[in-house]
Each structure stands twice: as C-alpha cells, then as structure tokens.
C-alpha cells in the first residue's frame, strides 16, 4: 500500500532509502542536501537504523563504507563541494567495492544558490568509474535511491545519486511505500584482497572496475529513466531536470521531434546510436558540464559523422541553471520557430532596493566582528570561512572565503608569505570541527603567528541548525559527549585561548586585544547561541528604544543590524530587535536604553 504525499525532493530520497532498508546513513549538512539526514532522523521511529551527522563528508563516506562492508545497506549524503572533502575514500572505494549496497548522495547546486562553486558531480562519478543516477524530480529521486542499492550490490560498486537544487528542493506528488526494516546484526567479513588497498590488490581491482563498465551500461540501458522516442529528423537529448524542460518545450511548441531522456551514467549508448542514425540535427540539453554532449560526439563520429550537434558551443550555457524558456527558445531556434523572450520589468530594475541575505538582527557574529575590528584595526587581514558569517562581508572582516576550514590555513600562508599586519581569521564552530582542526594544528606546529576566532553559536546555523560534536546532541536528538572547543584548541597547540561573550562588547574587545598582542598562535572563542534558535526556544528578551539624546551620528545604523532604522535624522529600533543590547553599548550618546516592560 502506498500513500501519495506532497514531498520535498530530499524527503522523497529519505523515504526511498527507508524503502530500500537502509541501515546506516551518515552525512554532513550542506545546501541542498541537508534535509535527507534530517528526514531520516525524523522518520526512523523504531527502525534499527543508525543515522548520524558526521564531522565531515570524508568521515560520513567512510562510516557508510564500513557499514556496507559489514553487509548493512548504507548511504552517505553531502553537497557537491563536500564530495571534494570525501574524494579520497570515494576514488578508492570504487576499486574495493561494497558489501551491502552503498549509495553516495551528492546534491549539486547549479547557479550557486548557496555554494561557493557549481561543480558537476557527474564528472566525479565518471572519474571514479562508478554509476551515477541523475533524477529529474522527487519521484525519480526516490525510485533511484531504491534502485541504487540494487545496482550497487549487483556490480559490487558504490553508486552515486546526484540530485540538483531543483530536485532536492522541489516538491511533487510522490507515492511512498512503507519502510523496510534492515536485517539487523551483520558481521564484517575479512577479505584483504578486497578490503586492503595495497598496490598488489589495487592493480587487479582497477582492471576489474574497468571491465565491469560495459555490463553496468548494459544493465542501465533498460532503466526506466532512459527513454527514446523516434520521430522526425531533428532530435533532442536531455538529462536530469533538463529532460523536463525539454519535454515541456516539446509540448508547448507541439513538436514532432526525436527525444532521448537520459537519467543514468554510464549512458545508454545504444539509444544514443539509434537516435543519431535517425536524425540530421540533434540538440543536447544538460546543466553545467557537457558530459552527455561529449559522449554524443564520440558516438556520432562512429555512427553518423554528418549529424549536426548543438549544445554548449551554442544555445545551452555551461554555467548557471537552465530553465524552461532557455530550453524552449534554443529548441525553437533550431527548428526555425518563434522565440518567446523573457519578460523584463524596467521599473523593478530601476526603483527597487536590493535585498541581499544578511546576518539576522541580534546575530552575535556581528558583535564579534565589531569587537575584532576595534582591536585589530582597518589594516589587519581577516581571512574568513564558509557559514552565515560570510554574509558579514560588508563589515570589513571577511577578506577571504575559499572552502571549509581554509580561513586558518590561508591565514598561516598569508603570514608565511610575508604579511606583517595583524592577521585575525574566523570560522564557525561546525566549520572548525569539520576541517579547521587540522589547520589549527598545522598553524601551531609551523609557528604561524595568527589569531583564530571560533564563532561558536553552538549549531550549524546556515544549513538549518544541525547539531555537531560541540553541542552534546546527536542527529536523532540523543545526548552524547560534548566536546570542549577550549580543550581542543589547547590540545592542538594554541598558546593563548580566550573565551568571550560577544554581547559583552568591552570584554570581547579586550580579549581580541590580548590575542593580537600574543606573540604566537592565539584562539578567541566567541560564544553566544544562534539567535534563531534562542528565539525558537521562546527565551525572554529585553526591549530597547532610542531616546531623546540621539545625535543622529548613525554609528548604530552602520553596525548593520536590520532592527535599527534611520528616519527623520534619528535612529529607531523596530520590531525585529532581539534585545542583544550591543547597539546600546556602541552608542556614543548613550541614547539607546533598555525599556522595562
């Protein structure tokens, strides 16, 4: 019996994992992948299923691999850039293979909605020589999650499921089945030739991996996500969500064209050949890299060298997201039909104020950065990292953002490169635990004279408030060991470790000053829980108002909190105020006062 529900793509994937009887799921939060683990933790109930937020993606994949080798179906979840972190185990697991099925769910983010790049994970799957399933919508994503385990077990290889933002964060009517309980209590079976990647084992395993590609392709040929329809002399080949844009274009334009939908890699070469034999022109529609297009070109050279191939060199951009209009117009152009220009509303472009994402009103990161800059000054260098705090770029304390944990290591390199100004880098608590610890150890070992600020809001805020080892809570809400950031920083070799409450501005400035003057590696831990979480807990808050003494200097306005407005030459505190009181401390006229209710 199925239940039809309106499901978020990531929740549909979680349901698919449960239908497949997944027994271990591990991930690190990252938009657009985070809701998969969250949904599993919610839906798990009494099922004998281990769900965890891992410390990072490499850890998540290795935990999943260990479970798979213990004959438990396992999944690892991450965003595309997380796969860079997990690339080491990912590449070699393809050689060593699996026990029970292992599905690596890697969510891509074309257009960088919430990412630092828009890399195409299909390239990674190709690189590792593992199959990749590329869903177009939540329903396919769920079905592929189930099928991924079967495929993985059949060919003894990990399988990648690669949703994109418009699949993970789409909703659709999806039929969900009951969860299948895992089999419980398995054993690790020793098998050095397949579990120990010594060169002597790796060489034949590499040969074996390459040999099974043809059989994998043959099996995928008949997968329901690869569909060929032959009509007409022009063809369209589309993959993933681009397949839906193309199908909508075909219906909108009422076309008779040959159409091939691709949902798996290795691709269905026979279908591509058949299409190429029957058309004189073909357009390849896919987001990001020309993965399908390159294969189409290779096959066309053998099958039909005269065929005209349109794609990334012409109408289909290699960067950003596609949409229905881009695809419709590309197809219309190919067939000499009228295009539909995208509408532009001039007034919107002319009169609207920008609304960029910003730190929340009352966010403690703003106070920390204010104190940091007071102590270190304008000339200091401020490497930063991946998290909410990157949005503080306007405060002059975010000079770099590269990848998770890179603030500390970039700061070290900037020092060793010859920079003599103060260097104060910053990263969040979750980011520090993810990839900052090794950088801190390296800075201590190699004597980098820098200050490292851990912006500790006691959660992984940007991705939706997931717990981590510093919170004392697991993904499923159980209490666990709460790791001390102070003890970690000391153990990793920091010479000075200061903990401050950023709302206590004067003391925070004092601590940053001390860290600046410290002749070695110093760490400042700025601790204040995320305001969103505090608000959700319903914590009582203070009220503040601007009194008669306001001189209109706008120092509080420049602080950048959206709870402070400026009208009629005076500051005003609006309803967004969370009562942190930092503006009252920076007001030179003492005009902002707490209001007793």
């Amino acid at each position: 019996m199925f239940v039809r529900e309106y499901l978020l793509g990531n929740v549909a994937i979680a349901k698919g994992l449960l239908e497949a009887g997944v027994e271990v799921a591990a991930g690190y939060p990252g938009t657009p992948s985070s809701e998969i683990i969250e949904a599993l933790a919610d839906l798990k109930g009494d099922l004998p299923l281990h769900v965890e937020w891992s410390v990072n993606e490499k850890v998540a994949l290795e935990v999943a691999a260990g479970a798979s080798w213990t004959d438990a179906r396992a999944a690892a979840t991450m965003k595309h850039v997380g796969l860079n972190v997990a690339a080491d185990p990912f590449m070699t697991l393809a050689y060593l293979g699996v026990g029970a099925g292992l599905v690596v769910i890697c969510a891509d983010d074309p257009f960088c909605h919430s990412s630092q790049n828009e890399q195409d994970s299909r390239r990674y799957a190709e690189f590792a020589a593992i199959p990749c399933l590329d869903p177009a919508d939540p329903k396919e994503a769920k079905e592929m999650a189930v099928y991924g385990f079967e495929l993985s077990e059949k060919f003894n290889v990990p399988v990648m499921l690669r949703p994109t933002t418009r699949v993970s964060h789409a909703r659709a009517d999806v039929d969900a089945l009951e969860a299948r309980p895992g089999r419980g209590r398995q054993q690790f079976i020793k098998n050095p030739a397949r579990r120990v990647a010594l060169p002597v084992h790796a060489r034949p395993l590499h040969t074996e991996l390459l040999k099974k590609q043809a059989a994998i392709e043959e099996a995928l040929q008949s997968a329901p996500w690869n569909r060929l329809e032959l009509k007409g002399d022009a063809g369209i080949i589309a993959s993933g969500i681009s397949g839906l844009y193309a199908e909508e274009a075909i219906q909108d334009l009422d076309l008779d064209v040959s159409f091939l939908r691709i949902g798996t890699y290795p691709m269905p070469s026979l279908m591509i050949r058949q299409l190429l034999e029957n058309v004189s022109r073909v357009m390849v529609v896919e987001e990001l890299e020309p993965v399908v297009e390159e294969q189409v070109e290779r096959l066309a050279r053998k099958v039909n060298p005269a065929v005209e191939i349109l794609g990334k060199d012409g109408p289909i951009p290699r960067e950003g997201e596609l949409d229905f209009l881009v695809v419709r117009n590309a197809v219309a152009r190919m067939l000499g039909r009228a295009e539909k220009p995208a509408l532009r509303v001039a007034a919107a472009e002319k009169i609207l104020p920008p609304r960029p994402p910003a730190l929340c009103p009352g966010c403690s990161h703003r106070a920390t950065y204010y104190a940091m800059r007071k102590a270190f000054g304008k000339k200091a260098i401020y490497p930063s990292d991946i998290g909410c705090y990157t949005m503080a770029i306007g405060m002059g304390t975010v000079d770099t953002c590269l990848c998770m944990g890179a603030s500390i290591t970039l700061a070290s390199g900037i020092r060793f490169g010859g920079e003599t100004e103060g260097i104060c880098c910053s990263l969040g608590d979750s980011t520090f635990l993810h990839a900052g610890m090794t950088g801190l150890l390296n800075a201590a070992y190699n004597k980098a004279r820098i200050t490292v600020t851990i912006l500790d809001n006691s959660t992984t805020a940007m991705t939706g408030h997931q717990p981590h080892p510093g919170t004392g809570v697991t993904a499923t809400g159980e209490s666990t060991v709460q790791v001390s950031l102070e003890a970690l920083a000391k153990a990793l070799g920091a010479g000075l470790v200061e903990t401050v409450d950023p709302y206590d501005l004067d003391k925070a400035i004092e601590s940053f000053q001390k860290a600046k003057e410290f002749p070695g590696l110093s760490v400042v831990i700025a601790r204040q829980p995320c305001v969103i979480k505090t608000r959700r807990c319903g914590a009582g808050r203070k009220s503040f108002a601007v009194g008669e003494d306001c001189a209109g200097c706008q120092i509080c306005v420049d602080f950048g909190c959206s709870a402070i407005e400026f009208e009629n030459e005076r500051a005003r505190i609006n309803a967004l105020c969370t009562g942190c009181g930092v503006c009252a401390k920076i007001c030179p006229s003492a005009a902002i006062q707490e209001v007793r209710r």
């Binding site: 919430s114 789409a170 009517d173 509303v345 919107a348 609304r355 960029p356 940007m462």
Partner: protein, 195 residues
C-alpha cells in the same frame, strides 16, 4: 499547447511563511488527485533575503514557472511583488500584501524604499489585475498578525482550481490545532477581501 493547469509564484521575505502557503496548495492538490510541482528557496537566501516559491497545479513538468507564465503572483511584501513581476502572464493577477519589510540596504540608508503607488503602477501594466490588501491588519482581525500568510492564501483561493474544502483540510494538516481556528478565520477574511 498548455503545459500546466495553473501556475503560481509566491514571493516574500525569509520568515514570512511563503513555504507554508505552497505546502497547503500542494497537499490540497494531492487530495484532489491532481499532479503538482513546487520549488522552494532554502539555505543562504533565506536569511533576510528575497524568497520565491513556484507552485504548479495540474503539471507534470519541471517545478519552475516560466517568465511571463504565472497565472497568479502572490506577494507577501510589496517590493518583492515588483521584483518578481516578470513572472506574471499578461492574463495573470497579482495579489499584494501592502506592508513593507525594509531590507537592510534601506535601514542603513544606502537605498530608498519606493512608495506603494510606485510599485503598484508598473505592476498594473504587466498583468490583468492587481489586488493590494493590508493582510496584516486583516490577520489581526482574525486574532493574530502571524496568520498574514493564511489571509493571502484565502485571497489566492479565488484564483486557483482547488476547492475551499480541500484547502482548509490541507491547512488543518500543517497548522498546529490550537492555531487552527484563527487561521481558518484568516483564510475566510482573506477570501472575502477579493470577492
């Protein structure tokens, strides 16, 4: 050839409850046995930024409404209505809550927030009808300003191919029981607003 029965674009600012509206429509569509697609904004953009949600009733294609394709633009904030006006079909309608939420670029004095008429006039040029309403005042009448999004949902219900019964049943699925009465009232008042 038509590819969707009804395309809706819902816009606002992070935290205003855009996703709840889409969730209710989607669930009601499932109850009605219609295929339905939606696309949401998560992650970084949610932090005080512009939020857009696409919902397509009776559609089997992608979840994204095309530029010039929306039958209804439901805006929980006036500036956001104009920001996403290019989604409106010439035959479409715009339902606009008139209470502004000032972006940080305005509160810090870097940009100016336009007057309501400056927003509504160009909006009227691109679609068939614009219905402005003070949904916060209406929600307060229903008992809570928080139900502003449900007032807008009530207004929207006039323009979508889903029955009130199904929408209210879906609303009951997503709203905590103790707030349900106020939300039903907000829905009714919003619906009456565009009668």
């Amino acid at each position: 050839m038509k590819t969707s029965e009804c395309d809706i674009v819902i816009v606002g600012v992070g935290g205003q409850g855009v996703i709840l509206i889409s969730d209710v429509i989607g669930r009601a569509a499932v109850k009605a046995g219609k295929p339905v697609r939606g696309a949401e904004t998560h992650g970084m953009a949610q932090r005080g930024g512009s939020v857009i949600n696409h919902t397509r009733i009776g559609c089997r294609f992608s979840p994204m409404v095309a530029s010039g394709g929306a039958d209804v633009l439901l805006a929980l904030e006036p500036a956001e209505a104009l920001r996403f006006a290019h989604f409106l079909s010439p035959e479409g309608v715009a339902l606009v809550n008139t209470t502004a939420v000032l972006p940080v670029t305005v509160t810090t004095g870097k940009s100016r927030y336009p007057a309501l008429q400056e927003i509504l006039a160009p909006l009227r040029e691109v679609c068939k009808a614009v219905a402005p309403m003070d949904a916060i005042a209406i929600a307060k009448q229903a008992g809570t300003a928080q139900a502003m999004n449900v007032v807008m949902l009530g207004a929207l219900s006039r323009h979508i191919p889903l029955s009130e019964d199904l929408l209210l049943a879906a609303l009951a699925d997503v709203v905590p029981p103790r707030y349900l009465e106020a939300n039903k009232k907000a829905f009714a008042l919003g619906k009456a607003e565009v009668e």
